[in-house]
């Protein structure tokens, strides 16, 4: 089980406001290009894709590659529509899958 944190910008969000979302996850992002002291290749182990769904709609997605550092922190924005769940999903090599959910509250 991976350790991940998600953060929704604090404050009173109104409909139409731009809201910053951040997500960080503990992951080695092993590139697959390194070798052990004995010369054996260390198998690649990276997160391949990150998606974010807000109120059932995909609002952000990106592919990740070996050049991305360990414990990737991803920050992006979305437009507040109505109060609803925000689901952050990471998928990667070796069947890696992790999801976190938070709630974006929108004032009327």
């Amino acid at each position: 089980m991976a350790t991940a944190s998600v953060l929704i910008q604090r404050g009173h969000h109104r409909k139409g406001d731009i809201v910053t979302l951040k997500a960080i996850i503990a992951h080695p992002m092993e590139t697959g290009y390194r070798r052990t002291e004995q010369g054996a290749v260390i198998a690649r182990n990276i997160i391949r894709r990150f998606t974010c769904h807000y109120d059932g709609v995909e609002v952000f997605a990106c592919d990740l590659f070996p050049a991305i550092a360990a414990n990737p922190l991803i920050a992006f924005t979305t437009v507040a529509t109505r109060t609803g769940p925000v689901t952050f999903t990471w998928t990667g090599d070796n069947g890696f899958h992790h999801a976190e959910t938070a709630t974006l509250t929108v004032m009327d």
Partner: protein, 253 residues
Amino acid sequence: MRRLLLLLLLVLPVRAEDIPPGQRLSGFETMGAEAQAMQRDDFANPAMLSVREGEALWSAAPAEGGPSCQSCHGGPATMRGVAARYPAFETRQGAAVDLAGRIRLCQQDRQGVAPAARESGALLALEALVALQSRGLPLAPPGDARLDAALARGRALYTTRFGQLDLACIHCHDRNRGKSLGGTIIPQGHPTGYPLFRMEWQATGSLHRRLRNCMAGVRAEPFPPGAPEMIDLELYLKHRAAGMMMDAPAVRP
């Protein structure tokens, strides 16, 4: 009066190499603004992921049936100030133990489980959680007379030339502190923020791992993590940095 001055000169320890207290700088103060910003923001600091993992381990009872950390100690907040005073003298071992060693002894004796391996994620996570409770407190190594021998050995290691490059810690971290070594600034080597996330490692690691780096750097065979020599050296470094503010779990380039 002259006799008094002479007496004072004899009594005061002559420590010409030491950095004057006003000139001591932690690694935080000598690193770049971007890395400082990363450390200041607990969300962006990857070492806080270790702390989160540590929180889960703290309250989890071992499968073997022993107590959890929580059931003996209470919440992690009870560990305030603990990390600032390690290494400490452990009566039953009759030797100095570092914080990781203390956690491992607890696991073995109180929890009845196999102690977590040195440098394992689980041990670093617990260490990071305990160290976080001392953030903002001054390093306060104990003035325990039973540690004097270990402290003297640590100081001797600090000033002894090592490896093919034939350098002692003191040559870089005291005499050439603040100067450039291949594009990086030589830090003063104060262990205020361990365990910490080092970008070069792309991982959270211990002070012993960092010392291992330095030893490999001067082409010496490093002591294994947790070795008595490592603990002696750690004890000396903590005394050398006594009173400096802890910033664990830190970020370093």
